[in-house]
Amino acid sequence: MLKMSDPVLKVEGLKTSFFTDDGEVPAVGGIDFEVKEGEILGIVGESGCGKSVTSLSIMGLLPSPPGKIVGGHIYYQGEDISHAKESKMRKLRGNEIAMIFQEPMTSLNPVFTIGEQLEEAIKLHNQRLPKKEIENRSVELLKRVGLPRAKELLKEYPHELSGGMRQRVMIAIAMSCNPKVLIADEPTTALDVTIQAQILDLMIKLNKETNTAIIMITHDLGVVAQMCQRVVVMYAGKIVEEGPVKDIFNHPKHPYTEGLIQSIPDLHGKKERLYTIKGSVPKPGSITKGCLFAPRCEFVMDKCRVNTPELSGGEHKSRCFLHQEQGRKEVRT
């Protein structure tokens, strides 16, 4: 039996690379994190930081070739699944770990009805269920994600639904087999704010009802602040900071996290100028020595360009010499 405090999913030193004509491109460069049962973990970072590749690696959905897990382990309930066989992964996917994607327009098949797609998911994982029972379950699932007219909806095609409704259907499919972990890759990025609020609310509700752990992958710090208990901040394929949401927002330790929080325009109270992180995200593999953030960092020291800092600290970890040396609580006051 799994204890409450045990992680359902644990990632250890995961390294994923893409092998292209120009050689190996490291997308994820050795990351560790874990998710406990019923927890909502946020993974934030900007485009190209490796957050989506991390989720695809966990699901065994990396396009291979060119993608490949070149190091590390992924433990699901204590079992290493990083190099599991396809047949094994098939059983895990959906049943144990489910995923929802950003584009609700493209992740549903346009030529099948909502009912067919929902029933397919249920049938795949419960081979012997009678037809009537499958239909009842589908209706029940659609109701649970807050969709009206569930019975009629089963006969409709994806194009007849709005973006928000499609994302609800995706969540219904993902939740159809009561997974232990739900990986949500930018689930609300394509949606309008009022619809985003509905979907986030639904996810929090499902998390409370079913105790499914959620890994929320997003670039929106607002979503993280409102939804997650813990957060992992990624930069250029590595974790730069990790900890409880409140600690990270109130006392960010890494200059990158601090910069990200500072760059968001405020909804209330006007700032004249926004804080900016100079430059842009480095190309994967272009920095081989020192801290990956050093070229953009305001507090860069000589050793940052030579040595690579380790992720360290207790519950609230960061990968920065500045913090490690001076034991400073905040980067900026």
Partner: protein, 322 residues
């Protein structure tokens, strides 16, 4: 009263849906349905709203990139709607546009130099040498270097491409810039760089911006006044500070409360709207927001509210304030 530089009156865009026998017009989609506002010189007017509310159509209609069905666009006391195609082309020298997608709005086969020079060629500005010098000046101005001139768009990152788009818009020294979601495709750290750049340029050249975006906090940051659109109509228009601190229209309230605040210490009381935005082909009768409005009254389903001026000068279109 301060003279307005640009004034839009009762702007409408209807799209016919043809169907049935002989392609008869069966329905009309009212993408923009009677929008009026004016913009003063040197200010930024923000326009926010969700997808399909008509904010981009409004922006494009001001430049007549989309031909309005009805309405008046008065720029420097001249009604742009009366201009011929040729005259309109000339008038666009004063009104330029920045687009959302920095990947799609730059020709991949042209060098950056060619891209930025082109508007000057179209408007017959300077000779070759002067234009070249101007391109270099513009590149420096938007935070790039003159050696970037010979490169192609694919060699730049998203943020840099948006800077090229801004340089192109500035090339002909416009008075008004219509920016349609200029930062939505960018990451936060890059977004703040571009927003700061837009503000600096405004100060330097006394530019007037019409800033169209769906991100409420971005709009708040850059705008002096903000208009909120819903289903092709303006539902509220006021100074940005007042609008954000004390929204009047129920839709504005819901919109603002839906934004996830990037601060875990603040748990906002969310006003979650039911359902989706109705199709603009069949907007609800009366107030188009009444079917989702938590404060709807009997009158709301019968009578369409009009944009009214409240005592403090802001404009709201809602029966609650009759």
């Amino acid at each position: 009263m301060i003279e307005s530089l640009l004034h839009v009156e009762n702007l409408k865009k209807y799209y016919p849906i043809k169907g049935g026998k002989f392609g008869r017009v069966s329905e009309t989609v009212r993408a923009v349905d009677g929008v009026s506002f004016s913009v003063r010189e040197g200010e930024t007017l923000g326009i926010v709203g969700e997808s399909g509310c008509g904010k981009s159509t409004t922006g494009r209609m001001i430049m007549r990139l989309i031909e309005p069905t009805e309405g008046k666009i008065v720029f420097q006391n001249r009604n742009l709607m009366n201009l011929s195609k040729k005259e309109m082309r000339k008038a666009r020298k004063d009104i330029q546009m920045i687009f959302q997608d920095p990947f799609a709005s730059l020709n991949p086969r042209h060098t950056v130099e060619h891209i930025i020079e082109e508007p000057m060629i179209v408007h017959n500005i300077g000779d070759r040498k002067e234009r070249k010098a101007r391109v270099e000046e513009l590149l420096e101005l938007v935070g790039l270097s003159s050696y970037h001139a010979k490169r192609y768009p694919h060699q730049f990152s998203g943020g840099q491409r948006q800077r090229i788009g801004i340089a192109r818009a500035l090339a002909v020294r416009p008075k008004v810039i219509i920016a349609d979601e200029p930062v939505s495709a960018l990451d936060v750290s890059v977004q703040s760089q571009v927003l700061n750049l837009l503000k600096d340029l405004q100060e330097k050249f006394n530019l007037t911006y019409i800033f169209i975006a769906h991100d409420l906090s971005v709009v708040r940051h850059i705008s002096d006044r903000v208009g909120v659109m819903y289903l092709g109509k303006l539902v509220e228009l006021s100074e940005s500070e007042r609008l954000y601190d004390d929204p009047k229209h129920p839709y504005t309230k819901a919109l603002l409360s839906s934004v996830p605040v990037p601060n875990p210490n603040v748990q906002t009381e969310r006003m979650i709207l039911q359902g989706d935005v109705p199709s603009p082909a069949h907007p609800p009768a009366g107030c188009s927001f009444h079917d989702r409005c938590p404060f709807a009254m009997d009158i709301c389903s019968k009578e369409r509210p009009h944009l009214k001026k409240l005592e403090d000068g802001r404009l709201v279109s809602c029966h609650l304030y009759d």
